[in-house]
């Protein structure tokens, strides 16, 4: 049995892509997801802005192995951030 990684779990990749689109639609910010591997962040899903700001992204740890990266985190209210993070965590549980 092969070990599963984020990118080999295509169902999860699609789901994270869907979440990124939903966040963009609802809050107007682009996010992408990366696997945390020590100092490395390895792209999994989501998108960068069409109009890139070139500013350093904010990294939000969703779990010890999954990071959400975005340039718009500060634009969100605390409540909105919590909703986003808890929905992602719920989805991760379903795909484990």
């Amino acid at each position: 049995m092969e070990k599963e990684t984020y990118t080999s779990n295509q169902g999860l990749v699609k789901e994270l892509d869907r979440i990124a689109r939903a966040i963009k639609e609802k809050y107007g910010i682009s996010v992408w997801f990366a696997e945390i591997l020590g100092r490395r962040r390895s792209y999994i899903a989501g998108e960068t802005e069409e109009e890139i700001s070139f500013l350093p992204p904010t990294e939000v740890k969703v779990t010890p192995t999954l990071a959400l990266l975005t340039h718009g985190w500060e634009k969100l209210k605390e409540g909105e951030r919590s909703v986003i993070l808890s929905s992602i965590r719920e989805i991760l549980k379903l795909h484990r």
Binding site: K3, T7, S8, S42, Y43, I44, F54, L55, P56, L69
Partner: protein, 498 residues
């Protein structure tokens, strides 16, 4: 650990996993069709200059070329048209990566090998070669020199194929390197990205390497020509299996290692055929995974101890053809990183860098343990081949400055998820080059403060000033953030990036 011959033989027999080859093949064939390549090269002879200019225009829009288009470029005879190709190659590089050159150093960890490649000083039948595998303590010492004295931030670690340097040893050695942190003049030195040049692995082994945070996984096909491949990699060796090697990047991408590097050892077969092979390989990866090669390498055969094959090789590539192949690769796969190594002599390196090179090594030592033991001359018996350029990083950087290139120690993409499909999109749209510029300025400032000689520092600061002006003009919203980061770095903070 001492291994008996029987253990080694068993290990060799169990290396290749057929199902991890055949799952990618179509109709029982691999994606390199030698006859098709030869036909493309034949049918695109004497290309019309206008067609060549159209192809150049396509490259400038950062589109991967079709095989017929690359074949047409390779068939250009007119020296004037070659000048246009050279110029365009430089432009493509600037569009995608700006004027930065990334530097790195190779770190040879073990030269034990079960293969017997005719061109290689590490082949098992070369009894004159001195064999050695670095302990983790020795790797730590090598890294302390590389990160703490020379100032490298990126390494390519190199291993022969042998059970004593198997994937567990490789993973441990990478962990060891990442853990080294050395105090410097103003800050600290650390290796931030470890790329790996190693044998083909299975998917599960590649997942292990991904877990320890490897950068690029680099495996060269050496030659794409099937018959030549079978000849130079003798039967009853792992490396004799063309497809096991050819599909290792498929396995890597499937394992989630999202930056892969391909390459050819030029001089084993006709260079035009090999450039076509690299193009087919790139297109295959793009088609299957949406991600092409992160880098392409194009080493040429160099003399190696007790390796007569090299002297007799029929397809050695001249300097003139070497320039052509670099320019054609640059135009054919416009988004890819291109690595020029210290195999090549100083004068030639200076000439080919403007043709689209993005990465190069310096202060290079390829003997096992050669950085910490600090031997000053090359020793053929403990090297895979002989180097053409042994200048220090400081000297190379100073020369690059004078040529208008900023040296970058950037590892930012790898640190914030700009990898794989993500970086492909940024490269193809010409947006990545701004990240390259911003991060080059920051990392170059770090290096100047921590490691540069006074002379190099002066040259470097002059260049940084020019680069900062460009950012101020072109990215006015970003400039204040850059300035803030820059000041923090001047004050001793390290590892800030965009």
């Amino acid at each position: 650990m001492r291994l008996e011959l029987a253990d080694i033989e068993t290990w060799v027999k169990e290396r290749i996993k057929e199902d991890e080859i055949t799952r990618y093949m179509e109709g029982g064939r691999d994606f390199i069709d030698d006859e098709e390549i030869i036909e493309k090269l034949d049918s695109n002879r004497n290309p019309d200059p206008e067609r060549i200019r159209d192809i150049i225009a396509k490259s400038l829009s950062i589109e991967t070329l079709q095989p017929d288009e690359t074949a047409a470029l390779l068939n250009v005879d007119d020296p004037q048209l070659w000048e246009e190709i050279f110029e365009a190659a430089g432009k493509v590089k600037k569009l995608v990566y700006d004027n930065r050159i990334v530097t790195f150093a190779p770190l040879y960890c073990s030269n034990y090998c079960v293969n017997n490649c005719l061109y290689c000083g590490f082949r098992k039948e070369n009894v004159k070669g001195r064999r050695r595998k670095l302990s983790l303590e020795e790797i730590k010492r090598e890294t302390e020199v590389l990160a703490g004295k020379i100032g490298h931030k990126r390494l390519i670690v190199v291993y022969g194929e042998h059970p004593i340097s198997d994937v567990s040893y490789i993973a441990e050695s990478i962990r060891t390197i990442y853990n080294v942190k050395v105090e410097t003049r103003k800050g600290y030195g650390q290796i931030r990205r470890v790329n790996v040049n190693a044998p083909p692995f299975s998917i599960d082994e590649l997942k292990l390497l991904k877990e320890v945070g490897i950068g690029t996984y680099q495996v060269f096909q050496e030659t794409y020509h099937h018959e030549t491949y079978a000849y130079v990699h003798p039967p009853n060796t792992i490396k004799h299996n063309y497809q096991w090697r050819l599909y290792c990047m498929h396995r890597a991408l499937e394992a989630g290692v999202d930056d892969v590097g391909i390459g050819v050892l030029f001089g084993l077969y006709d260079w035009k055929f090999e450039v076509m092979g690299l193009l087919y390989h790139s297109r295959e990866l793009e088609k299957r995974f949406g991600v092409g090669p992160h880098t392409i390498s194009f080493p040429r055969l160099q003399p190696a101890a007790n390796t007569p094959f090299i002297q007799k090789a029929k397809y050695k590539v001249s300097d003139e053809d070497f320039k052509k192949l670099i320019a054609v690769i640059r135009l054919s796969v416009p988004y890819t990183g291109m690595i020029l190594t210290a195999r090549e002599p100083q004068e030639l390196r200076r000439e080919v860098i403007p043709l689209g090179i993005t990465q190069t090594d310096a202060s290079t030592r390829i003997g096992i343990g050669a950085y910490s033991e600090e031997y000053t001359r090359q020793e053929a018996e403990r090297q895979q081949f002989l180097l053409g350029d042994t200048r220090s990083l400081d000297e190379v950087i100073r020369e690059l400055c004078k040529m208008g290139y900023i040296t970058s120690f950037c590892t930012a993409g790898y640190r914030c998820g700009r990898t794989g499909k993500q970086i492909m999109k940024l490269l193809r749209t010409g947006k990545e080059r701004w990240f390259c510029k911003l991060n080059a300025i920051l990392t170059f400032r770090e290096w100047l403060d921590d490691f540069a000689s006074e002379e190099t520092k002066k040259e470097g600061e002059r260049l940084i000033e020019k680069e900062m002006d460009e950012v101020k003009r072109e990215l006015p919203r970003v400039y204040p953030v850059l300035l803030k980061y820059y000041t923090r770095i001047e004050n001793g903070e390290r590892d800030l990036y965009f």
